[in-house]
């Protein structure tokens, strides 16, 4: 986690996280704001780093275990950075009925990781989502938020091949 050390030193020796400072200026230090703040942190870092949890714990005067409990409760919050390409397959009913599970299975098979995980090279991560609201295009998957509709196993293969080439 060399990258994280750079962002903010764990020992509290003075390494500052400008983003967190900005957030702490915007919010009142009351517990009700925990989820709002976590949403911002997740959005900014792509995950909720431990140093941010520690800083939020001090800012809101909430024990770290409770913050960790909230982070691990909500599926939007993740503890590890997502891959460069985060591929989310919709497993909502409309997509499921149209075969999205097959696409998910194929994706896991190709990347050799499970949903919620990131490939060792940090390139891909897989996510399960429930309805991105593009039911008209079912089944769908998204790559970094961009929707690929009327998906098939072949289409998934194609997209993976392209992204792999892009590096």
């Amino acid at each position: 986690m060399g990258e994280e050390k750079q962002k903010c030193c764990q020992c509290g020796c003075g390494g500052k996280d400008e983003f967190l400072e900005k957030i702490f200026n915007e919010y009142q230090p009351i517990k009700d704001n925990l989820i709002q703040i976590l949403n911002e942190v997740q959005e900014h870092y792509g995950y909720v780093p431990m140093h941010a949890q520690k800083a939020i714990s001090e800012f809101l005067n909430v024990p770290m275990a409770e913050i960790y409990g909230v982070v691990t409760f909500y599926s939007r919050f993740t503890l590890k950075p997502k891959g460069k390409y985060n591929i989310a397959v919709c497993l909502g009913t409309a997509c499921y009925v149209k075969g999205s599970q097959k696409i998910m299975d194929r994706l896991k098979e190709r990347l050799k990781i499970e949903a919620g995980e990131t490939t060792p090279d940090g390139k891909f991560s897989i996510e399960e989502t429930r309805c991105v609201g593009a039911c008209g295009l079912a089944p769908v998957f998204t790559v970094n938020g961009e929707v690929y509709g009327k998906a098939t196993v072949q289409k998934m293969d194609q997209v993976l091949d392209e992204l792999s080439k892009e590096g």
């Binding site: 909430v62 024990p63 770290m64 275990a65 409770e66 960790y68 409760f73 599926s75």
Partner: protein, 583 residues
């Protein structure tokens, strides 16, 4: 007050009870027991486990009797076939995800889940399936977490987060993967845990227990080279009997001493004597601070959970903390110096065992500051529960034992020392000595009723030698936090503060016999144990620490006077600022 009464029917019995009473409590009043698991009176009232469900006529689904309150005309049925089937299924499900190694579990025989399984005649698991797997965390010197035995009742979380306002543990993850853990699943040793052990007291199963160290004691007792000395804390003697089926609050001092002697300890001493030393030093420190414009208020330091708490949370207030070691540490230091010298024993051969109502003492004893000449003051701390296990292992029939007395030359203690075991006791004992010191008289008024009782915070103003001294005794870390905030903000004008980490003080310590939720619902365990201590005090011929002849003798022979150089070296300590999280 008729309008505040509600009449309802439970299992055909008409019950009149106060408005706002829960169905569970109303049933209890009518002599009807409803099974519970997650419920712990005043601590955890969430309705999560669903064991306490009952049927209420005209209501869809079940009512949750531990939290839902009575209504006029309500008709409740606590054991219809529907309710029984649902409870059975729930129990089955809990057991299906519970490590079933009862024979080798420390809580076997005192496990609320086991009790229910027996009651419900669960002979096989009807709905078996995948079990959640957790690694055992035994890195803390005080607490072991084996969450393969956790049933997610969350009583420990409530105790830690709400009662103590620590929040070292919480519920993490979601759904079937939910578990109770620390931030990042780190060891308790690396987070803001104070080792108070209230979580253990709350746990209905064996998921949380003390780090047991009785095997080390057995090894030393077997070792002919070792001179094994034991001391027992004030609160142990009024609780140990419970482990042998005696009523809560039975004073078993005599039997306990006999049992310890039979176990083979070379000397059986009383931590109460150590407590008298603590009073001598602490009262002296207070008088010095009080008369010489020292840092006030002075705060007591005999509760190690509390000490770790202030080190982690209010390091800026550490100068307020008395530098006195806790009684058993003082006593250990004296055993390895004064006693060793007097008896001609090599101190390195002495193995000092403390029997404590506390698991934070397990942490305290291994602090680097608790050493003298390279030797730890105390070599092992075992809890009241662990002592009972040793007695059982030795097959000693405790109830049938004759009484005997502590060994000399350090076996004399006062009534003042006895009440150390309850909240307000240290304060009262110190005031007895301080007022005599300040007035130079032998005052007769020695009962300080204002600091007695079960309240979490007890404030009082006492007049000593014509001066008003404002004091406060707080127990439970949530209350400690309140007092610290008062001091920090400058609002407090106390001169003397007593803090105990455990609500109610040492009688309710993390190492004491564990009482089921049902017992805690029905009787005031704290009061019964505390009353026993006050009764010891009352019956004592000497009730002021400075009048203890042993104390006088040792000061005369060895320690010179309270606050002397040698007293400081052996009986005082210092504190460090600690990070809350080492992660």
């Amino acid at each position: 007050m008729e309008e505040n009464l509600v009449t309802l029917t439970i299992d055909g019995v008409e019950v009149k009870t106060k408005k706002g009473t829960t169905i569970l409590e109303a049933a209890r009043q009518a002599g009807i027991d409803i099974p519970t698991l997650c419920f712990l009176k005043d601590i955890n009232e969430m309705g999560d486990c669903r064991m306490c469900i009952v049927e209420v006529e005209g209501r869809r689904g079940f009512a949750t009797s531990c939290i839902q309150t009575v209504e006029e005309g309500m008709v409740v049925h606590t054991h219809t076939p529907n309710v029984l089937e649902a409870r059975h299924v729930i129990l089955d499900l809990i057991i299906s995800n519970h490590a079933k190694d009862c024979l080798t579990c420390t809580r076997s025989g005192n496990c609320e889940l086991q009790t229910l399984a027996v009651k419900f005649n669960v002979l096989n698991v009807e709905f078996p399936g995948e079990m959640t797997k957790h690694k055992i965390d035994d890195l803390s010197p005080s607490i072991v977490r084996d969450f393969n035995k956790c049933i997610l009742c969350r009583r420990c979380v409530a105790a830690c987060k709400n009662v103590q306002k620590i929040g070292a543990i919480d519920c993490i993850n979601r759904g079937f993967e939910s578990c109770i853990s620390t931030v990042g699943d780190h060891s308790l040793n690396d987070v803001n845990c104070t080792n108070c052990g209230q979580c253990i007291q709350a746990c209905p199963t064996g998921a949380l227990h003390e780090k047991e160290t009785i095997d080390d004691v057995w090894v030393k007792l077997k070792d002919p080279e070792a001179y094994v000395v034991v001391q027992t804390a004030p609160a142990v003697r009024v609780a140990l009997g419970e482990e042998f089926g005696m009523p809560i609050g039975t004073n078993v001092t005599g039997k306990m001493v006999t049992a310890l002697k039979r176990l083979g300890f070379d000397k059986v001493f009383d931590t109460n004597t150590g407590a008298d030393f603590t009073i001598m030093e602490e009262a002296n420190e207070f008088v010095e601070r009080f008369t010489q414009n020292g840092v006030l208020p002075m705060i007591t330091s005999c509760s190690p959970g509390w000490v770790k708490y202030i080190e982690m949370n209010y390091p800026e207030l550490l100068p307020h903390l008395s530098t006195c070691k806790s009684p058993h540490q003082m006593f250990g230091a004296l055993v390895k110096t004064y006693f060793a010298q007097k008896e001609g024993i090599d101190p390195s051969k002495i193995y000092m065992v403390s029997v404590m109502p506390c698991i934070a003492k397990k942490f305290e004893r291994q602090r680097e500051e608790m050493k003298n000449e390279g030797l730890y003051d105390v070599d092992n701390v075992i809890t009241t529960r662990e002592l009972s296990r040793m007695i059982k292992q030795a097959n000693i029939e405790f109830e049938k034992l004759e009484d005997s007395t502590f060994d000399n030359p350090m076996g004399e203690a006062t009534g003042a020392a006895a009440i150390f075991g309850t909240t307000g006791g240290v304060m009262e004992a110190a005031l007895r000595t301080a007022q005599d010191t300040l007035t130079g008289q032998n005052l007769e008024k020695i009962d300080f009723e204002q600091v007695r009782g079960g309240d979490g915070i007890k404030r009082a103003t006492v007049n000593i030698a014509g001066k008003d001294v404002k004091v406060v005794a707080a127990s439970g870390l949530a209350n400690a936090q309140k007092i610290m905030e008062e001091i920090k903000s400058g609002k407090a004008d106390y001169q003397f503060v007593e803090i105990m980490a455990c609500p109610g003080g040492c009688v309710m310590g993390g190492g004491q016999p564990i009482k089921s939720s049902k017992i805690r619902r029905e009787v005031d365990v704290r009061k019964l144990r505390a009353d026993a201590l006050y009764s010891i005090d009352e019956k004592s011929t000497i009730r002021k620490s400075h009048e203890n002849p042993v104390i006088k003798q040792i000061y005369a022979e060895y320690l010179e006077k309270p606050g002397s150089h040698i007293a400081h070296k052996l009986l005082h300590t210092h504190y460090v600022e600690r990070p809350k999280y080492n992660i």
